[in-house]
Amino acid sequence: MRALAIAIFLTLPQSVYAQDRGQILSDIIAVHILPGYAALSESTNALAEAAHTDCSPTSDQLRSAYHAAFDDWISVSHLRFGPSETEDRAFALAFWPDTKGFTPKALSGLIAVEDSAIQSPDAFAETSVAGRGFFALELMLYDPRFADQGSAEYRCALIQAISSDIDRNASAIDADWATYAHALANPGETSPYRSEDEAMQELYKALITGSEFTAETRIGRPLGTFDRPRPKRAEARRSERSLRHVELSLTALRDLAERLSADHPDIAADLDSAFTVAIDRAQSLDDPSFADVSTPQGRFRVEALQQSINDIRAIASTELGPTLGINAGFNSLDGD
């Protein structure tokens, strides 16, 4: 998500307001980032154990471990830089959107030949990112197409391999954050960040791209157009997690926004009220998989939710961005 479209132009190395960035950086690392990835690593460990205890797709224990771990992933899924990007770990955890149906193809491919790669974590880690992670596991647990493909033994071993691979990636990200946290908090020669401003800008980008992804992709894909709504494109709709992902990501982004704007109370207040509106709208929707986007009334409510996230994005880019020395540049719009 870090790399998604953003119109950010990093201008002057010294921003207009010269506060002590160090305190904000340390706070975000200690309270927002490290506990988030630690929680993910713990719940994915529980997921791997649950899969090895009972690999039945309908097992309550396995399904609830899946939901708990997926929750923890969504809550850090806006923090797409550094350890999450090493070896494509984040993509291997969450290959979505899948516009060309690569995930079912990859799974069917493994099952059809009973690929032995699933017997070795190293070998499985070399297979396509599309056939790994939470979205592959969701298909194995919830999609009827995979309930009877191939042999029961192979399906069981595949579910266990996917769960262990999720845990392996989450643990690797968590472990790497121990050293990366130091680099983010201490910019300079030995850090990927040359200044505290650059480190702050990385976190700001996480806020901007995270809210953009939730508005444009998590909500935008199922919305489609009025004439052609696309409810089947909703994220993790089979396990009815689509709306939940919006709510979880908004909650995490709100925490990040609050900490990023800690030294600008007016902006913090504006962001806080915008997040309140958006989270209220998400919580009052009774449409867990965005199935109702096909009806005019249901669509209207999901559009209102999307609009409230766009309002957050506008406040972040017009109010918060400039305090961090970030302006939308004329020529740096992504990809042109």
């Binding site: 790399a3 830089f81 494509d88 959107p97 516009t99 540049g329 004329f330 990809g335």
Partner: protein, 361 residues
């Protein structure tokens, strides 16, 4: 689909006065869009010295343009994901036609005319299929006469090779869909390609980068008179990596990638905006608007030959003795062997690209 009339007209124009149409509007070397001080977006004709020869109003901010080979006629594309482009008569400033993308397609903002001017080719997105398309238009009346696959996903810039027949396409590899804005839908599996096609859509050659660079989107192109192709890239991978952003390719060979030393390369934020060869063809340069720098390399050995710092530098073109560049801060500059000369015009914000009206090399 060339009509007899346009064929004869093209032949006559090509043989008698190849640039008569453009000379009537001051013989500009480039087209460039800009935001002017009165708040209007305009398409300007510039000469290599940086003088503005004309500046015609556009209905909205454009992306790039394409210049007819001999008539003073320009195509201005809307920004992505634009569904229309306008044809402007640069002598009168009037809009003479509108191209509308067919249902299920949008423009990527680049296009190129055939050598005889009878056809216009445009890079487009077949967004339901997530595949790139080249649209073909008859320039008599700007009707669409066909399309063919671009050979990849997300075709962006496109040029005509010096043989006058082969198209070279920068298939950037990134899938987008208008319903999800500029969200990139396929980063983990993206596969950019440099694709050579004939004008019927037959793929002549596909060039891919090594697998560890599959997130390096090939987006903008320059072609030297001898057919050497330069390509500028935009890195979509981990920001702690600083891969090359400039490559050269000669048909039939492997691509060759150029990079500045890491301390310099790491300031570019993985983003090159435009590419051009110098007039004498011995150097090649990229502009890096996020790193506020222009990097120039020697073609012969790939050595970094100069770093020039300008805020929001993006437009870049070939000039007789070097390069011409523009910036979003209003600068027009000339770069010759050892010096950069600036003519500041703080009243215009120049857009991404300088479109050559003829190949200076």
């Amino acid at each position: 689909m060339t009509s007899r009339r346009s064929f004869l007209a093209g032949l006559a124009a090509a043989s008698l006065a190849p640039l008569r149409g453009w000379s009537a509007v001051g013989a500009p070397d480039y087209l460039a869009a800009a935001l002017f001080p009165d708040g209007t977006f305009r398409l300007a004709g510039l000469d290599a010295g940086g003088d503005i020869l004309f500046a015609l109003p556009l209905p909205a901010r454009g992306h790039a343009a394409a210049a007819h080979p001999y008539q003073a006629q320009a195509v201005a594309f809307a920004r992505r994901p634009g569904t229309f482009a306008i044809i402007i008569d640069c002598a009168t400033g009037t809009q003479t036609a509108v191209l509308e993308a067919p249902k299920g397609r949008h423009f990527y903002g680049h296009g190129v005319f055939s050598t005889d001017g009878t056809r216009l080719f445009t890079t487009e997105n077949d967004f339901e299929a997530g595949q790139g398309v080249i649209g073909v238009w008859n320039t008599d009346d700007y009707t669409r006469i066909g399309e063919f696959a671009s050979g990849g996903v997300g075709p962006h810039d496109m040029r005509l090779m010096p043989d006058g027949r082969t198209l070279v396409v920068a298939n950037g590899g990134i899938e987008t869909h208008p319903e999800t804005g500029r969200t990139k839908l396929n980063l983990p599996v993206m596969q950019p390609r440099l694709t050579y096609l004939d004008q019927n859509g037959q793929v002549l050659e596909q060039v891919e980068l090594p697998q560890d660079l599959h997130k390096n989107s090939i987006r903008h192109l320059a072609v030297r008179a001898d057919g050497l192709v330069g390509f500028a890239m935009q890195w979509q991978g981990d920001t702690s990596q600083h891969p090359p952003l400039l490559g050269l390719h000669r048909p039939g060979e492997k691509p060759w990638l150029f990079s500045a030393p890491n301390a310099e390369q790491s300031t570019l934020q993985g983003y090159a905006g435009s590419i051009a060869f110098s007039g004498e063809g011995e150097t090649v340069a990229i502009t890096c608007p996020r790193g506020n720098a222009l990097h120039r390399f020697r073609v012969a050995d790939g050595q970094l030959d100069g770093v020039f710092r300008h805020e929001d530098v993006c437009g870049l073109g070939t000039a007789p003795n070097g390069f011409v560049f523009t910036t979003g801060a209003g600068v027009i500059g000339q770069l010759s062997k050892n010096k950069a000369q600036i003519s500041a015009r703080p009243d215009c914000q120049w857009d991404n690209h300088l479109i050559p009206i003829r190949t200076a090399a």
